[in-house]
Structures are given as structure tokens and as C-alpha cells.
Symmetry: C2
Subunit: 245 residues, 2 copies
């Protein structure tokens, strides 16, 4: 059966994450229900590059599935959208090799995180950026982000409730730049641990507040202790931006 | 009793407009309920500069009310926000003269309208801009907007279901400018008729599509016939931006 690879964006606000859970509105569930409608009631399981948590957004999540339907490859997006809610958008669809796997074949992932640096709340960005009304030394944040780059054991930046034992990852890019009142973080790497970006952002913001020195990131990583790092930044500032194969 | 003048922003997405209606979630209702909690169950009516329709947003709506509570004027915002939902934000509050009226004393209003000029849908802006995936001649739109400026009888740009008989208004500014993939319209005037901005935008977009000449706006206004103008653009692209007194 032909294998389809699709790229989707979603606004995570009204989803309880990606993965199907009984009684919950999740992205996977909406897409699988749409596929089921296209396949006359037959369940079509989909496989993503990875899960996203409740409230987390995606600009370029990737998933694959198998289907006997003979659609031209670029038509899958429009066909699926007929059955999808407005907070999911299929960007792109192609036929992939039979052994393509959205999760196992991913070689690089990019996440971005948006922090709203302003005193006043903004009702229009309340679900899409982390409102952070504190004086922030952006240059200190930028210097601190530098220490996250490279191959490290990231145990300090990993939620404690995880089964993963091998915690070494390679981060190719870890940067922060100010665009108006939005501080955008970009993280690109071979893969990321559970909550890794959100803990990294939470810790970098403490540097920006002046509670830690930029160089402390290095010792936090070396400690391999979750307790050494800062708070977990909220999910609604996080975007799965791109997955490369 | 002291009179308070407050400036609020709201995301209109989950409101059925400003005005209280039985069984509906409206902005006025949420604010009056918050005030009622602050006043030990006593209903405190509020008066806005004008209504907004379902889905329409505000950056700077103004309302007033009377209260016996002795709060420092700038504290009203924070106090109210304790009881308000996250899609309403009180920017500013001051004590006004006893005879100040948010509606009758308004001398100028500014509305903006955001059109999303791109082929792909954007899940993150779906409720805050009008998605318009058609080739658009922005310069033609800008030239056409020019004809809306000035003092005119705007019957052509007024929803037919209105009681208002005097339909002459003065528009001080009518402009369109492209910011990235967003086409932002700005309208500033002494006052506007029901649906006037949305009909103006709908008509200007038909100029952008090449279906009408920019100069046609002049003849549409002169006809004083609603049928001569274009469609009403949807409410979720519209923002009540500012009210001047």
C-alpha cells in the first residue's frame, strides 16, 4: 500500500497534545477521524515525528500513513482538510518510500519558543507566546544560549518522569533574537528530551532576569541534575517548527 | 458618585459581540459581572463608545460607569482583571467628569482591518485576520481607498437593516498598507455606520481583484445604494483601534 508523508501545522490551544487519549481532543485523533471518513469507516493509524504536549503548537509536524486510495500526492492535503477542523492545516503531502518512518527517519528537529517581553498583557497573543513582563537582559540570554550548543548529556534539562536512559543529544543551534516585543528562541538538534526546550527556556529566562550568570548554563549541564536547572516554561510558547529527513 | 472611564482590549473570537443578550457570552456582560462581584452583588451598568459585532476585536474600546468604591484611579484595571477572563484586558482607567459619556463625547474613532494575503491558510491567525488567498493589486486598493476620505452620504456602505436615517459621515483617513503578508486598512472618522468598514473593505478587495476600477468607489458612494457596493467582509478581521474624546 502506498505510504503518504504529510506536513501539518496546528494551533495547539484547544488540543490536549498530539497523542490519542480516550475522551480527549488531540491532534492525532482529529486526523485519524478525518482519514477514517475518507476510508469509509476503516481506521487508518498515523505515525508522527514525535508527540507534542497540551497547548504546544506546530508549524511543521510530519506524519505518515498507508492508504489504498489512489489520490495524486498533492491532493491529500485538500482532501483531508475537508474533514479537519480549522485549527489543523495540511501544508504538504507526498508519496514516500514504503519503509519511510516519520519518527525513526527524522535526522533533525527544529523548535522555536516565543516569549512576550512587555508589561501589558496582549489578549491576541495570550495562547501563542509566553507573557513575561519582567526586565530581561536579552544579551545575557543570548550568551547563555551559546552553552547549550554541542553534544551534551542533557539530564539537567529533562523532565524527571521519563523512561529514556540515554540522555546525550546534539544541539546544532541554540539562539535567541528579539523581534519587536517578542523574544524568539530557536533550537535545532538531532533530537530533544522530554520538556528539554521548555526547561532550557525557563533557565535562560532566569539568566535574563539576572538571577544566574550566563556561564552557569555550563555548570548546570555538567551537574546532570534536573534540580540545578530552572522552571519549565509553559507549553503555549513552544512550536515544533520543522522536521528534516 | 465618581465616574470611571476605562479602556479595554478584547479578543472577539469567543464573544457574541459587545452588547448584553440573554444566554450569550458578550463583553459587556463579562465586565458587568466582574463589576458586580466588586460591588457585593450590586449591578453596575457600563456604557461603551459603541457596540461591536460577533467576532470583532478591540484594541481600545472605551466605556464608563459610576461607582462608590474609593479606589485610586489607576487601580481599577488590576482590580477588574481579577474577575475578568483572559480574553479581556483593561489597559487604562481614570476618573472622568460627572457628565462624561463614552458614547456621546467620542469625537473620533479609528478602526483597522487585517486581510491575510497568502495562498496557504495560517492556523495561528485564523480568528484575527480575513484569509484572502486571491491575487490582489495592492496599489489599486490604495488608490480606491482614497475616494472614501471626506464627508459623504455613506448609504452605499451601510447595512440595510438599520434605523439610522442620517447617513452622512466624515472620514479623515482611509488607507491600506502592506506589512509582510498582512494588508492593514486604517479608517479614522467622526463616526461610522453599521457595517460601514466591513462593506468598505469588501468593496476595496473587489478593486484589488480587478473586478472594479479604483474610481468606481466614487460612483458607488454617489449612488447611495447598498447594492452598488461589494460584499461585507467578515467580522474577525476588524479591530476597534481607538476612540478619541
Amino acid at each position: 500500500m502506498p505510504r503518504v508523508k504529510a506536513t501539518v501545522a496546528y494551533d495547539g490551544t484547544f488540543f490536549e497534545g498530539w497523542q490519542v487519549q480516550p475522551g480527549r481532543r488531540t491532534v492525532q485523533r482529529e486526523i485519524e477521524e478525518a482519514l477514517q471518513k475518507m476510508h469509509k469507516g476503516v481506521h487508518v493509524p498515523i505515525h508522527a515525528s514525535g508527540r507534542t504536549d497540551s497547548g504546544v503548537h506546530a508549524k511543521g509536524q510530519v506524519f505518515h500513513f498507508d492508504s489504498p486510495l489512489q489520490l495524486p500526492e498533492h491532493k491529500w492535503g485538500k482532501a483531508l482538510e475537508t474533514f479537519l477542523p480549522k485549527d489543523i492545516h495540511v501544508w504538504h503531502s507526498v508519496y514516500a518510500d514504503d519503509d519511510f518512518h516519520a519518527r525513526f527517519d527524522a535526522v533533525e528537529k527544529e523548535y522555536r519558543y516565543c516569549v512576550l517581553l512587555r508589561k501589558e498583557r496582549d489578549v491576541f497573543r495570550r495562547n501563542h507566546a509566553f507573557y513575561y513582563p519582567y526586565p530581561t537582559d536579552v544579551e545575557a540570554v543570548q550568551r547563555a544560549a551559546y552553552y547549550i550548543k554541542g553534544e551534551h548529556d542533557f539530564s539537567s534539562f529533562c523532565a524527571s518522569n521519563t523512561d529514556v536512559t540515554e540522555k546525550t543529544r546534539t544541539v546544532y543551534e541554540a539562539e535567541a533574537r528579539l523581534e519587536g516585543d517578542e523574544l524568539w528562541f530557536t533550537f535545532r538538534g538531532s533530537g530533544f528530551l522530554y520538556n528539554m526546550i521548555r526547561i532550557a527556556v525557563g533557565t535562560l529566562l532566569e539568566v535574563g532576569k539576572g538571577n544566574r550568570h550566563p556561564e552557569e548554563i555550563k555548570t548546570i549541564i555538567e551537574s546532570k541534575e534536573r534540580a540545578a536547572a530552572g522552571n519549565t516554561a509553559p507549553g503555549h510558547g513552544l512550536y515544533l517548527w520543522r522536521v528534516n529527513y
